[in-house]
């Protein structure tokens, strides 16, 4: 009784970031980008006042996948690459929960690539945060599927031969209904993106550029560092022309089906306007292809469209079945379509 009363009291009080912190010591390397992400996720959940008991964080294996242990919500640290499968099953069983997957470039795109694809294409209502540091951290420094070609690591002393995969191109290729990118050094932007992801109904895929101080330090420095960021990043805003640069003097327009960078001279009318709600993911795809140094790297929401989620449709099918035939009659199911009676002799 007293327990329930205390909890009831807790429920009415406003949730703060502290409420989402578990008692476990955080064990990432000092300076790891994951700290900033953890803090921002906790702060954002508090901001949105999502009850802790309704939140589940599910992860696979890798540095990022320790995340659930540090959240005082429900959590599941599963096996390598499989977090989206657990999340899908849980969402099917419990559409009422707010389910988040935390994964990395190795976990999500290498060993778990298949699951990521299928979870996103089904539009299961889960939020997938992919911490992209372009390296294998937990196994101590091998190249990852997002590492640039030619990367010298312990497993590729002569340089890697693989062409990298772009997480956002992949997500858009399977028509993910919400696709965004943010970075661990811009907490405000990250909070905005997380909130948008949380509010989206359906699969939300967020790539977070995350710095690995030990094995790939400075991977995104040339893009996101304060001194170059305005020139090298494009901040997407729905309905606004694509402008960037220290003096807001450059922009993106389309030449045929190819984007190009032009000088605006204060004139933005000819620039491409960002439309995250476009039914076709074409524009978002062009944006996802843009890389430094030819282009600024886009951040923000690439795509956010409304389409029924897998779990919604499943519940609707179930309701239709029940309304059409009534709740299942177990005795009838067991006796089947045809029976015969053997009478006592």
């Amino acid at each position: 009784m007293s327990d329930t009363t205390t909890i009831a009291k807790e429920q009415t009080k406003k949730l703060t970031r502290k409420d989402y912190e578990s008692s476990q010591d955080v064990r990432w390397c000092p300076g790891c980008g994951d700290y900033a992400i953890l803090a921002t996720v906790q702060r954002s959940l508090a901001e949105m006042q999502i009850p802790r008991e309704n939140v589940v964080f599910i992860s696979g294996i890798g540095c990022s996948s320790r995340f659930p242990y540090y959240m005082d919500t429900y959590g599941f640290h599963s096996i390598h690459g499989r977090a989206p499968t657990l999340a899908s099953g849980l969402k099917v069983a419990r559409p009422d929960l707010s389910i988040w997957v935390v994964t990395g470039d190795g976990d999500g795109l290498s060993i778990g690539g298949n699951h990521l694809i299928h979870c996103l294409r089904r539009n299961v209502d889960v939020k997938i945060l992919l911490f992209n540091n372009q390296i294998y951290g937990l196994t101590k420094g091998q190249y990852s599927p997002t590492s640039e070609k030619g990367k010298r690591t312990k497993s590729t002393p002569f340089g890697s031969l693989d062409y990298p995969i772009s997480p956002l191109c992949l997500a858009l290729g399977v028509e993910t209904s919400f696709v965004a990118r943010t970075v661990d050094t811009d907490l405000k932007h990250m909070a905005m993106v997380l909130q948008r992801a949380a509010e989206h109904k359906g699969s939300a895929f967020v790539e977070i550029y995350q710095n690995c101080v030990i094995f790939n330090d400075g991977a995104f420095k040339g893009i996101t560092e304060r001194s170059v960021k305005e020139d090298n990043c494009l901040y997407l805003e729905h309905g606004s022309p694509m402008v960037f640069g220290k003096d807001k003097n450059r922009g993106i327009d389309l030449e045929g089906v190819n984007p190009r960078v032009i000088e605006t001279n204060g004139e933005t009318d000819s620039l491409q306007v960002h439309d995250e709600k476009a039914a076709e993911p074409t524009l978002a795809y062009l944006l996802s292809r843009m890389q430094n140094p030819e282009f600024p790297v886009p951040f923000g929401v690439f795509r956010s469209i409304e389409r029924p989620s897998y779990d919604e449709m499943l519940v609707a099918q179930e309701e239709t079945a029940i309304s059409r035939t009534g709740p299942g009659d177990l005795a009838k199911l067991i006796s089947g379509p045809e029976t015969w009676e053997v009478k006592p002799q």
Binding site: E10, P84, E338, V342
Partner: protein
């Protein structure tokens, strides 16, 4: 159709039992007519057992040997447990069907062939140098050669159907003929045809006509002089239905979910011979059954673990190669101590092996096919109908002990059918489930002192927020722990939890003498053959008992003591000796094996002979 008319011109003989095999191209509809014959036998009141045998290819080249599909049924006036060793009647719709099945027939078997299919082309495809219907290859058999295509086509002369459509009805003509031959009523099949082809009345009419034409042909043809009657079997009074193993499995799990007051979740990836479980469960949305066709085997079990965490009664289903793919995730289910059931419908292995054939070769994989010390429950149904009860038992163990359970069915049980007494719902005990409510200082690995189960705390419950996962956890608190003493404690705890259930399952009780010369120990789908063989031997005065294990991990608590009461222990299995290895290791008993790995079930004859030899 009355017997009186028939008996005027033909001789009627009463038989104890008969085994019929319907065989033809995989597109000839042999599984269908076999199924219909079975339903008729069921409604008529015979005991029966069936064995479908179909190729792995959906449509192998028409007329070829690999394309032959067969369906065997044994039906009887007395208790039987197998589909019969050697068919007494073969219906062969083409030369390939004759060739493939000839070697299996009993000595003076009756062969009904469709002579229209014995064309030079088909003979060549079947590898016949000359027409076997003409030489003396079939000497000793009672051969009935009828132009079934032509007879069917004649019967449908007045219809508007194309030649191809008419030819498609020939399986019903053949079925009608066999119905006449065994004095069966047509009603149940006619009713089925009408409802099946509701939207195609012309086809329904044609199939009905073909069926009746076959029946009347039997009655009027001069060639066949006698027909047979197999009276109703004397079985325990009650309401019966026909049931196949996969059907019973699916219905059993739906029932278990209702008994536990739970939503049923089934995550699966299509694989032969387990897919029918998915098909059956997918129909039952109005029971709150949620099926999820995953992108692969790993995703299927991953989704199942997720659903179990969320509080569903969660299942996954597969066959051998899929079990291999699921092994890492099974380990996760073991260490997170979540309740779930994995249905493994075994087939011939290794690798892709024999997808449509039966085998019992996944027992050791079920026991040991994971990294680390990783015990879980293993149960195995003994008959198609028993799949229903063992499904419920699997759920009871999973929930009570918070642990995964492997349910070992096999291709023979899955597709084989038998008459099954329909249980009364009120006779099935509820499955108690407990979820802790809101509390402070919740400990996710604080155990029930009796069962050692940890609490099943559901997301959405305030105050119970906790984290589980694949890293070793500290007992009681559930925090990540690399402590060596704790690891040893947890390894032993997980093992003790499973082992402790030995006192919560039925004791081993052999059929036959309580002690004596020999104990025959089996498990799974070999039950029928083992029972029939051991009953036969006891009938000859031999001291042979039969013990069939339905719980394999843990074994029944008294198993070691039971094994020691017999001079010899023999373990017949459709593998190279897996249960035998376990019994020898566990109980230091000098068990010997009778092993067959041909993708086929045991025949009663071969088994009886092998047991006799072992008796010495």
């Amino acid at each position: 159709m009355s017997n009186e008319t028939q008996s005027k011109s033909k001789n009627k003989r009463t038989l104890e039992r008969a085994a019929i095999r319907f065989a033809g191209d995989s597109g000839d509809g042999m599984q269908l007519v076999g199924g219909k014959f079975t339903e008729t036998a069921a409604v008529y009141g015979n005991d029966f057992a069936t064995l479908p045998d179909f190729p792995a290819e959906i449509r192998a080249p028409a007329g070829s040997l690999p394309g032959v599909s067969g369906y065997q049924i044994q039906f009887s006036r007395s208790d039987i447990h197998t589909p019969g060793d050697a068919p007494d009647v073969l219906v062969a719709m083409n030369p390939a069907a004759l060739k493939v099945n000839l070697k299996d027939l009993s000595e003076d078997a009756m062969i009904i062939v469709n002579s229209d299919a014995f064309t030079p082309g088909n003979l060549k495809k079947a590898g016949y140098a000359s027409n076997p219907l003409e030489g003396d290859t079939l000497k000793g058999f009672r051969l009935y050669s009828f132009p079934i295509n032509k007879l069917t086509s004649d019967a449908l002369e007045s219809t508007e159907l194309s030649k191809k459509e008419k030819d498609r009805c020939k399986n019903f003509f053949a079925l009608g003929l066999v119905y006449w031959m065994f004095d069966r009523p047509l009603d149940s099949t006619l009713t089925w045809i009408v409802s099946k082809f509701k939207k195609l009345p012309a086809i329904a009419d044609a199939n009905s006509r073909a069926l009746k034409a076959g029946f009347y042909f039997g009655e009027t043809t001069e060639t066949i002089r006698e027909f047979y009657q197999i009276p109703q079997a004397e079985v325990a009074p009650g309401i019966y239905r026909k049931i196949a193993g996969n059907e019973a499995t699916a219905i059993g799990f739906v029932t278990a979910a209702q008994l536990a007051g739970k939503q049923l979740f089934y995550g699966s990836y299509p694989i032969t011979p387990a897919s029918d479980v998915l098909h059956e469960l997918a129909k039952h949305k109005n029971f709150g059954v949620r099926t999820f066709q995953a992108e692969d085997e790993i995703a299927a079990i991953g989704s199942t673990i997720g659903a179990a965490f969320g509080g569903s009664l969660a299942l996954t289903g597969t066959s051998g190669p899929g079990l291999a793919l699921k092994s890492e995730a099974l380990g996760l289910a073991v260490i997170t101590e979540l309740p779930m059931v994995l249905i493994n419908v075994q087939r011939g292995g290794p690798s892709t092996g024999l997808p449509t054939k039966t085998e019992q070769s996944d027992l050791l994989q079920a026991f040991f096919g994971r990294n680390g010390e990783c015990p879980l429950f293993i149960v195995a149904p003994a008959t198609p109908g028993d799949c229903f009860y063992m499904a419920i038992e699997a759920c009871r163990l999973a929930i009570k002990y918070m642990a995964p359970v492997i349910f070992l069915s096999d291709g023979y049980l899955a597709n084989g059918a038998e008459p099954w007494m329909v249980p009364k719902l009120e006779d099935l005990p509820a499955i108690p489930v407990h979820h802790p409510g809101p509390m402070e200082d919740f400990q996710p690995y604080l155990r029930d002192p009796e069962t050692r189960a940890r609490p099943w705390a559901l997301p959405g419950t305030p105050g119970l927020e906790h984290r589980i996962g694949g890293l070793e956890k500290e007992n009681v608190t559930g925090n990540v722990s690399y402590d060596s003493e704790n690891h040893q404690l947890m390894v032993r705890m997980r093992a003790a939890k499973i082992a402790g259930a030995a006192n919560d399952i039925p004791q081993a009780k052999p059929d036959g003498p309580d002690e004596g010369d020999m104990l025959v120990v089996g498990w799974g789908g070999t039950y029928g053959a083992l029972r029939q063989a051991t009953e036969t031997l006891r009938g000859q005065g031999k001291s042979v008992a039969h013990l069939h294990l339905r719980h394999l991990n843990p074994f029944p608590a008294n198993l070691g003591e039971v094994l020691k009461r017999y001079k010899k222990v023999v373990v017949p299995e459709l593998n190279a000796g897996q249960l035998r290895m376990l019994l020898r290791a566990e109980y230091l008993v000098d068990a010997t094996g009778i092993n067959k790995v041909k993708g086929k079930p045991f025949q009663v004859g071969e088994l009886t002979h092998a047991i006799e030899e072992a008796l010495g």
